[in-house]
Symmetry: C3
Subunit: 351 residues, 3 copies
């Protein structure tokens, strides 16, 4: 399988460059870009896995989330520059739904088909649950409700204020996990497991692969975005649907691949960290940074999602928290998350 | 007590038939029907209990929920045929509220007056919590929010799509409980208890009693429904109130009687399974089946509850999940659920 | 530190009396009143602590909540008489947000800076979680949603009905905690700790200090309220903001001081009991009593919060429940609650 992905990368990347320069048909390029990203994502997954074995599950998960979302941040900044604030909010929504429901759902389902019961660090899950509630149910809900009675300027002030607090709390969470409470909430059992395996690549090679693959994904992703309009016309999809569903699937391919791989190897701590950590990085770091950066563009982007976007995210968070609360997963919990994702997908397809 | 119910059945059923044929006054017949159903329900409860001892708590609970809700499904199909989609949605709401708040509330309260602390299988409770969130907070909330921006035809498409997913996930849940993860989440302690008791009736007699009583309840219930309009006028109740409150009390009398009986015998696994299982069967099977069947009637019934109905169900689910999360009950948790039911009752009475 | 507070009380109280009689400038008096209340609150905290050692954590927590909220009840009755129903609802909202987010947040944060992990009785926390969901998510949400389709008179009927049920359930909760289930959910470990310490003051002196300090706080608080309008003008704040934020900080200074002191001494059972118990007393006793009393005033006050108030309270309850669910706190959980409080504060400041 790894050889197939290697071949896909060594064919896909040059063809992506050539095809984009020669303006090949959009639908064809759309398929090539998607396959290339999936193949690159598998390399990122393997590099992350190697790093995770060296550095422990937390740093590994953080690294993965960071590399996965750097791409999204770059694409969104281009979109803001083009004045597409609605598309940016839609793709943020798509990333949250994609990570919480699709990535975690596939990981729980595929892991659960192999193992009857899979356990993960319940302390980390609860820590993440608190942050998910804070980011989505408090920080995203408040501006939508309050903006009804506020002027546009005051809504933007509220959005910037909330964004600053989100970023500060995100940094505080890193400080908490990596400095003041590092290793405090770790299961003694899970520690032993981790050090049994040998990393596939060394630290240096892993970082190199991760860096190069991320750059390649960024390049291909940006080209991919420009095919969306033509693809939307060909298939009769709305741009909102592409933003929410297609971007979520392809844009999170890296997290997706890694999380499923980890679940399949019964390393649920890392799988959960990827899915939840990525959601938190999107909602507590990428989204507020974009709101603040949007002050330099016209129009600025307030942190005001549409009601369908907000309700979809809020209900997904409640569902995820209730399912993850016991520190155990099985195939049926994965199926439940996937079913919720399909419901949201149908809804946004019809909007 | 059992003798009283036997007498009530042997008098109540023939009188119900005679009274309905001779068109006796509606309010009188309303009372006769209600008492007859309650008496029949006690037989269903005893038959279920006997079967539960033979077959284990899960199958027993499933059987009970199935027999209790078959009645509701039949009545609702007649209502759909008569074009009363609002009444069908109201009685679905009433069943959800009735099972979650009234049946579980009474079971916890009465069981809790006898026993200080009652425990039930916390794994089952969490599994059910996940499904409740999925069905009510995701699958019921999404169409209400999205339908604001959708045409009627697209709302119906969304409703049918969600209904199909609800039914598939319901069947997947049965497959999970009865096949792939049968007995895996069982407490070793509770297992011993179950096999100590002797069933009152054999397997054959239990099934026969259950079948005959269900048929009789179906017949009497249908007649009962036709007295509602006249009773509403006599007492000054709205039809919505009857759909939500009266149907919930009488229509769930079977589950009600069984659940309280089980709680009184400290078999909380079965009591909880009846209340939650019945709610899940209503929301994940009866409701979506009715939406799909409604395609053959005019008007069709989208899965779009009114805002008061939706908020009442969603808040009830959140309350129940928080209370049931620890796998323990006491009389005060029962009182809390009953207090919530009374608040909803007052609200719908005034609407 | 205690000496500083003693000096502040013996200077602050007479100056408050003199200043209010001589009509000193409002902004000056505002600062004097605030400092005096904070100093008085420290005496209440010490008295409560002494009583708590004698009487156990639960009664101590109840005592504190009672003395803290008596002040609020008295001020609100004066406000109702003046027809300021909006201000009363705003200050109820402020008390709920203040206790759940600010008081609990500061206690968790400051306690967490000293101790890595702090534990509290998880049974009490779950009991309180159930009541918080019941009071805020059920009893406060239902009238707001239903009132859209109700006449003013029926909304008032619904409000009174819900208020009666809230009060009954609040009394039932006391009966549960103090009579039928007293000590049943107590940790065997925490019991030992409690009796090691000597109370600072005897029972008699503690009660005397508590009573005198409460009276003084009531007197100063009432004067404080009358400076709000002038202060609002001076600082450019809205009256809603003062009701929600300033009243919450100063009006809950007593609970605030005690809760932080307890957290600092690692007595998290009492700290949590103060923050949650006070919230529950506001929402299940003070608010419904005010609704019923408002029937004697014109206009009456229905239990209908504005949407921003309701959403702020409901999301705070969800956040608190998810964080408190595991019976453990750390500085980061405190920081999360404080961050939520700041977000709400910015929102209400801009409204």
């Amino acid at each position: 399988m790894n050889k197939v992905f290697a071949i896909m990368v060594f064919i896909g990347v040059p063809i992506s460059v050539i095809g984009s320069l020669l303006h090949w048909p959009s639908v064809l390029m759309f398929i090539i870009y998607c396959l290339t990203i999936v193949a690159l994502a598998s390399f990122m997954g393997r590099a992350t896995e190697s790093l995770a074995i060296v550095a422990g599950p937390r740093i590994g998960g953080l690294l993965n989330a960071t590399f996965g979302n750097a791409v999204e941040l770059i694409i969104s900044i281009f979109s803001l520059q083009a004045g597409l604030t609605g598309v940016v909010l839609a793709s943020l929504t798509g990333s949250v739904l994609g990570n919480l429901l699709l990535v975690a759902g596939m990981a729980f389902f595929i892991g659960g088909v192999k193992y009857k019961r899979q356990k993960f660090n319940v302390y980390d899950a609860r820590h993440n649950s608190g942050l998910l509630i804070f980011a989505v149910i408090v920080a995203f809900v408040i501006p939508v409700v309050f903006s009804v009675n506020l002027t546009e300027a005051k809504t933007m002030n509220l959005s910037v204020g909330i964004s600053i607090i989100l970023i500060i709390l995100y940094l505080a969470a890193l400080f908490f996990k990596l400095v003041t409470h590092r290793g405090i909430y770790q299961d003694p059992e899970s520690k032993q497991e981790e050090h049994e395996e040998e990393p596939e690549w060394g630290k240096g090679k892993s970082i190199l692969v991760l860096a190069v693959a991320t750059l390649a994904v960024a390049y291909v992703s940006e080209n991919l975005v420009h095919t969306f309009e033509a693809v939307a016309k060909s298939f009769g999809w709305s741009e909102l649907f592409i933003g929410i569903v297609i971007v979520a699937i392809v844009g999170n391919a890296a997290e997706h691949a890694s999380a499923i791989l980890m679940a399949y190897k019964n390393k649920m701590d890392i799988a959960v960290e990827i899915a939840f950590g990525s959601t938190l990085q999107i909602s507590m770091f990428v989204a507020p940074v974009l709101v603040i950066l949007s002050l330099f563009f016209n129009p600025s982007m307030p942190l005001v999602f549409t009601l369908p976007e907000l309700v979809a995210m809020a209900t997904s968070v409640l569902l995820t928290i209730v399912l993850a609360n016991d520190g155990e997963t099985n195939w049926f919990e994965g199926a439940t998350l996937l079913a919720a994702y399909i419901i949201m997908g149908i809804g946004f397809y019809l909007l």
